[in-house]
């Protein structure tokens, strides 16, 4: 039970911080709208639904990247990492809480992005919505772990896209093709792996 309450407390901290500072979510929203606008002009006239759907997925991946880059900045700048690691809670709880916060931001950005896409380009089916939701799980899980790695380095903002984008390629394949079972498989594998290995990423010894 304490594990769960730790996770809830840490997630609440992140959401509250965002609610007060409003640093991440507004930039994600503006970014995804700007990206969709660029895609409208990048696509040739009459390019069709499939091409636009592919661009939606790249817009979502890059928007997620924007949120993930910010995810651990507060911890880093305020020296919060040491305090979190010292706290008497399981370290995977830190990862789970941060992933849930990232997931919430992603979902909030997509609540705007998907209708915007439907309005700008063409309608989207329920299958795409489910695929996006499944993809968010994997993005949040893997991205949070790699985000924690990237902030430890000297080239923070530069490092995360390099680490994360190769991992996102299977997500794009599953999302564009609408292979829901594949996204479920991806989530299951990498959520477990990230949950099991986060401890080592923040440990100093």
């Amino acid at each position: 039970m304490t594990y769960l309450s730790d996770v809830v407390a840490l997630t609440r901290k992140d959401l509250l911080l965002e609610l007060r500072a409003k640093e991440t979510l507004p930039s994600m929203l503006l970014f995804v709208l700007a990206a969709l606008t660029i895609f409208h002009f990048a696509l040739p006239r009459g390019a069709g639904h499939t091409a636009a759907l592919g661009l939606l997925w790249s817009a979502l991946i890059f928007t997620a990247l924007l949120g993930l880059t910010r995810a651990f900045v507060a911890e880093r700048e305020q020296g919060m990492f040491d305090a979190l690691v010292l706290a008497p809670c399981d370290r995977s709880a830190i990862w789970l809480a941060k992933s849930l916060a990232v997931l919430a931001f992603l979902a909030a950005a997509e609540v705007v992005a998907l209708p915007a896409f439907a309005a700008f380009f063409s309608g989207i089916g329920g299958r795409t919505v489910v695929a996006v939701a499944l993809a968010d799980l994997g993005i949040a899980a893997v991205g949070t772990l790699f985000g924690a790695m990237a902030v430890a380095g000297r080239a923070r903002e530069l490092l995360l896209p390099l680490l994360f984008l190769p991992m996102a390629i299977p997500i794009v394949v599953g999302g564009v093709g609408g292979y829901l079972w594949f996204l479920v498989l991806y989530d299951a594998i990498f959520v477990v792996l990230a949950w099991a290995t986060f401890e080592y990423v923040v440990a100093e010894v």
Partner: protein
């Protein structure tokens, strides 16, 4: 001394493999002379997987034992893996040009997989070089190496899903589709490339250990 013996054996094995590829094995009926690159391309690709697997195994060993040697071994194996991976991309590209007339084909599953892995493992070096040496860097590198070895089958599946299959499948559930001479040549080539890996691995590891010793001595003197 053992490294010297290994290096000599490797050189002999590579010589034998080259001789077999060019003078012993008959040309492929379908693709002709250019098919002979198969005996380099596929063993190099398989060796690259061996490197990544070995690197991940050493990473797991590191996380369990916290032995700094395992961290160096994991790093060296992945370093070799990236070099063999780059060679796979180059030889694959040459083969694609010879048999399909294009330098790059997105329809070629293995080649695309190697591109993904190449990108992933190049970022491994970016991660390693941007974090100061120490337990923290070793931990992160080990976790990243484990993600890599899991990403291989996942990416493979993803690429299969996304593509039509024009890549020749030489190994299938009925065993290798090769004649005796071809299979022998393939096995010798594979052994030769693996021996090259083993030699390079030992040499680079020896270099890294000397580096580490030197650094310790310098710190003692300072």
């Amino acid at each position: 001394m053992k490294t010297h013996a290994l290096a000599v054996a490797t050189a002999a094995l590579v010589g034998l493999a080259v001789a077999l590829v060019f003078f012993y094995v008959p040309s492929d009926a379908d693709q002709g002379f250019s098919q002979r690159i198969f005996y380099f391309h596929v063993p190099i690709a398989l060796t690259s997987y061996v490197c990544f697997g070995w690197g991940a195994w050493k990473a797991l060993r590191y996380l369990r034992s916290r032995d700094a040697r395992a961290d160096t071994e994991s790093y060296v194996a992945i370093h070799q893996g990236v070099m063999f991976g780059a060679l796979t991309l180059i030889t694959g590209s040459i083969w694609a040009k010879a048999s399909w007339g294009v330098w790059w084909s997105w329809g070629e599953n293995q080649l695309v997989l190697f591109l993904v892995l190449f990108l992933f493992y190049c970022a491994y070096f970016m991660l390693r070089f941007s974090v100061d040496a120490g337990a923290s860097r070793a931990n992160m590198s080990a976790v990243y190496a484990l993600f890599g070895v899991v990403l291989i089958p996942v990416s493979f599946l993803a690429i299969r899903l996304s593509q039509n299959f024009i890549h020749p499948v030489v190994f299938n559930s009925h065993g290798p589709q090769m004649t005796g001479a071809q299979f022998l040549t393939f096995c010798v080539s594979f052994a030769a490339v693996l021996a090259v890996f083993a030699t390079l691995y030992r040499v680079e590891l020896a270099g890294k250990r000397i580096d580490a010793h030197l650094r310790e001595l310098r710190e003692l003197l300072a």
